[in-house]
Structures are given as structure tokens and as C-alpha cells.
Amino acid sequence: MNMLEIKQLDVWFGHGHNRVDAVKGAEFSVPEGESFGLVGESGSGKSTILRAITGLAPEWSGGITVNGERLGKQRRKSFYKTVQMVFQDPYASLHPRHSVDQVLGETLALHGFRDIDARVVKLLDDVGLGQKFRFRYPHQLSGGQRQRVAIARALAPEPKLLLLDEPTSALDVSVQAEILNLLVDLRKDRGLTYLMVSHDLSVVGHMCDRLAAMRHGEIVEIMDVAALRGMQAQHAYSQELLQASV
């Protein structure tokens, strides 16, 4: 079964003369348990697709089907139990005045969990942080630690589909390796489906099974990771991307 199906998706911002078409006729599907990558340069519309799925980009048309359910304009509460997102910049995605405990506790409470204390402890262990980080504030954490908290928050409602928006591009390479390993393990342990956006082909090559290359809001090519590793891109633009990243 497909966890995510995108059909003829258009996303735009603004109206009339100011209308900018960020995504034009995107079409792909991600089977359950797969990891799918979206690559392209800045402004290619790859992150916008994630925002349209989550409902953060309100102006879209076409079809988005998640876990067999076709999405309307409004997202139901149950939607957020299926789909969660990890943002690019861990320095911007945590509330500066909320401790780790508050961040995770509030998320769990919003999803109606009762055993919040036990779950906070468990989540921190799952993302490799442990108890001693529970009552810290974001400014007391490094970038990698913040991103682990953000991942813990996304895992809290026990989602099936995780949207990853350049989760390591703001981090040092050694920290990137730790976070990518964590994401690989989490997917294996929990049978998660990933949709990952990145500008870094080697990261996508490491994390994903298939990927779509985007340019100017359009998907120019969908290929599997073997083709990527073998440098066998069909479309001229994806070849260009490949050349530039080695």
C-alpha cells in the first residue's frame, strides 16, 4: 500500500499578478516503509511539497492521499498522529523559552497521552539524549542535541510518515553522521516511511531508496538510488546536479 500519493499537485503563493507557482504538477507515490528523497536547488519547490502535505502551505490543488485517506483543505487531528515533520534549522524549531520537558510534555498532552512522564523519558532515550537533558532549555543544547529533541517531538505521536526537511543541513558533518544514523535506526525499528528533502545528493543517496529531482517547481526525473550511485541520470538537469555534487 502507498503511504503517500501525490497527484497533479500545484502549490502557489499570492494572488493575481503576485501569484508565484512554487510547485507545478508534481506526481509521485511513496509505498509504506520506503524512504523517498526530493532533491533540487533552493527555490525548486521541494520544501513546499512538504508544507502542502502538512497544511502549512494553504493554497494548493490536486490530490494528496496519506495512508489511504485523501486530504481536504483542513487537516484533522488524527492526521497529525500519522504525519510528523522535522524542520531544517534546529535553532529555529524549538521555542526559546520552553524546556525540553515542556516541548515533549505539551506534544504528548495534545495527542491525548496519559503517561506523559514515562513517555518523555522513553522518547529522550530513543533519540539518544537521556534523562539529564530533560529540563534543559534550547540555549543549553548544541545543534545536534536540539535536532534530537525535534526528532523526539516528531516521534511523540507515534507517526507512520515522517517528513524530513533538510534535517542535517544546519549541522556539522560529524553531527550529521550521528543524526543520519539515528534516523536510519528509527526507521528500521519503527517501520517508518520517510519523505526527505535535501540539496545534498550524497545524503539522499545514503538515506533514500528512490528520489525525485526537482527544478523550477517541476519534477524532472524520478530514479532509484542505484541509478544515482551509478551516475545514470536520464534528464540533463539531474545529470548536472550529479556532476556538481562529486
Binding site: E41, S42, G143, D172, V173, S174, V175, Q176, A177, E178, L180, N181, V184, H199, L201, S202, V203, G205, H206, M207, L228, R229, E240, L241, A244, S245, V246
Partner: protein
């Protein structure tokens, strides 16, 4: 090789509530007419090193060194007024994000011309001609139109090329580039680097290229200093970076995902406290 810049025992210190924090701890290096890379992770002190050469560390930070000599003249002995002469005219700096380095309410032409006329007594028309010439040198098509444009009308790559043009107009002896391409897309990155490379070569400048990207530095530079916790842990020829010996450098290289060598798990860097204790390696050549 003639030495342009000679830095001996450089320290950058910041007093904090819990004692003094040393961002850079006693590093020494020289720069000739070459491309010197400084790589390291965030917090390694690489940017502080670049800024301290121009004495751009803000109070309460303190720069200390036995000497920072620009062709024999110790920059630490200069007054703030003399230092302003050095900045821009003899040593220029290109920062990471052109958006924050250009004045949003002035046209690009006015800014370039102002930068030029600040350091030379050229007339307006001379400055204009020179600016056009520089924009052409950084491969900007239609320079007349760009001269009339405002910074927000430029893409990131254009903005960064304009910054480079602006910094190179007074013909400095040294260019310090602090992550000049990390805000740019890979394809644009290449163009900007090529332009920078060409100009630095043609004019016989010294370039200090500060970056977190090992592969980029290996490709682009002649010599590389690898910094860790405020010290230089290893110095090597850029083309031999992939044969580096120090476990930190090796760890960084191995933690990168590679398309040609797929793995289940990436190697995780195990930090050894001894690395930050070991004395700095000299970057003199």
C-alpha cells in the same frame, strides 16, 4: 615563496561569567601568494581566526598574539585609524551571506563605487568605469543594469559575486573568504569559486579560505590548516587531504556519506580529549 602574512601565537579570548573562554588558542601560520584553507567544525575558532587578523573581534573579546605581520608591519601595533586603512585596501573580507553584507537601500553601483572611492581619489566616472570592469570580471552579464539594481533584486550567487567584485576593486594583497559559498547552491558555488580562483591567481593575491566543507577545501586550496577546539591539529597539502593522518581529520572525512561507497551506518567521530590538549601545529611554510 614571499610571505604576505605572518601570524605568531594568536589567542582570541572572551571573558564569560564562568571564566575566560579561549576561542583561538595559540596558533601560528604564514600566508604567501597561495590559497590557504582553514577547515573545522562550528566552534573550532576558524572564523575567529579570520576576523582577528582584521581586528574585527568585538569587545569584550580580546586578540593577543606575538605578532600579526602584514609584510613586516605588525597589525596589532596599528591605531584603529591606521587599521581602517588596512581593512579593504590591503586585506579584504567576504562573508557568508551577501544579504547581510550589502546595504539594502543603496543601489549596487553606488555601493561598489563608494567602496572604490573610499580608498582612491578617483573621479566618479573613473569609479564607474572601474566598477563595470569589475562586474564583468566576476562574469556578470549586463553590468550596467546590475549597477542600477538594488541588492534584493539579486540572487544569492549574483550577490556573492558582487561582494567579491566590491572586495577586489581596491586590489588588496590578501582576501579572507569566510564560508563564501555555503549559502549558495552547488552549481552556483562552482561558478563563484572559479571566479574567485581566477582573480586571486591573476592578481597574485593571498587567499585565506575558511570553510567547514573538507571536500571543497581539498579541491580549491593549496594548503590546509585543520582546526579543532581553537588549535591547529594538522597541516597538509590540500591535494593530500584525503591521506590526512590526524584521527580528527580522518574522522571528519569518514563521517561523510558517499555515493560511491554505500554503508548502513556512517562512522561517528569519537572525540579524544587529548586532541584539544595537544599543542597547536605550526602552519608556517
Amino acid at each position: 615563496m614571499s610571505t604576505l602574512l605572518d601570524v605568531e601565537n594568536l589567542w582570541v579570548r572572551f571573558p564569560t561569567r564562568n571564566g575566560v573562554f579561549d576561542a583561538v588558542r595559540g596558533i601560528s601560520f604564514t600566508l604567501g601568494r597561495e590559497r590557504l584553507g582553514i577547515v573545522g567544525e562550528s566552534g573550532s575558532g576558524k572564523s575567529m581566526t579570520g576576523r582577528s587578523i582584521l581586528r574585527l573581534i568585538r569587545a569584550p573579546g580580546v586578540v593577543e598574539a606575538d605578532h600579526i605581520s602584514l609584510e613586516g608591519q605588525d597589525l596589532l601595533q596599528l591605531s584603529e585609524k591606521e587599521m581602517r586603512e588596512v581593512r579593504g585596501k590591503r586585506i579584504s573580507m567576504v562573508m557568508q551571506d551577501p544579504k547581510f553584507s550589502l546595504n539594502p537601500v543603496m543601489t549596487i553601483g553606488d555601493q561598489i563605487m563608494e567602496a572604490y572611492r573610499l580608498h582612491s581619489k578617483a573621479s566618479k566616472s573613473e569609479a564607474y568605469a572601474k566598477s563595470i570592469e569589475m562586474l564583468e570580471a566576476v562574469s556578470i552579464r549586463d553590468p550596467e543594469r546590475v549597477m542600477r539594481a538594488y541588492p534584493h533584486e539579486m540572487s544569492g550567487g549574483m550577490g556573492q559575486r558582487i561582494m567579491i567584485a566590491m572586495m577586489l576593486i581596491p586590489n588588496p594583497e590578501i582576501l579572507i573568504a569566510d564560508e563564501p559559498t555555503s549559502a549558495l547552491d552547488v552549481s552556483v558555488q562552482r561558478q563563484v569559486l572559479d571566479i574567485m580562483d581566477k582573480l586571486v591567481r591573476e592578481r597574485g593575491m593571498g587567499l585565506i579560505f575558511i570553510s567547514h566543507d573538507l571536500n571543497l577545501v581539498a579541491d580549491f586550496c593549496d594548503r590546509v590548516l585543520i582546526m579543532y577546539a581553537g588549535r591547529v591539529v594538522e597541516v597538509c597539502e590540500a591535494d593530500k587531504l584525503h591521506e590526512a593522518k590526524h584521527p580528527y581529520t580522518r574522522g571528519l572525512l569518514n563521517s561523510l556519506p558517499r555515493l560511491d561507497a554505500p554503508r548502513d551506518h556512517l562512522e561517528v567521530l569519537q572525540r579524544d580529549p587529548a586532541w584539544s590538549e595537544a599543542p597547536s601545529v605550526s602552519g608556517r611554510s
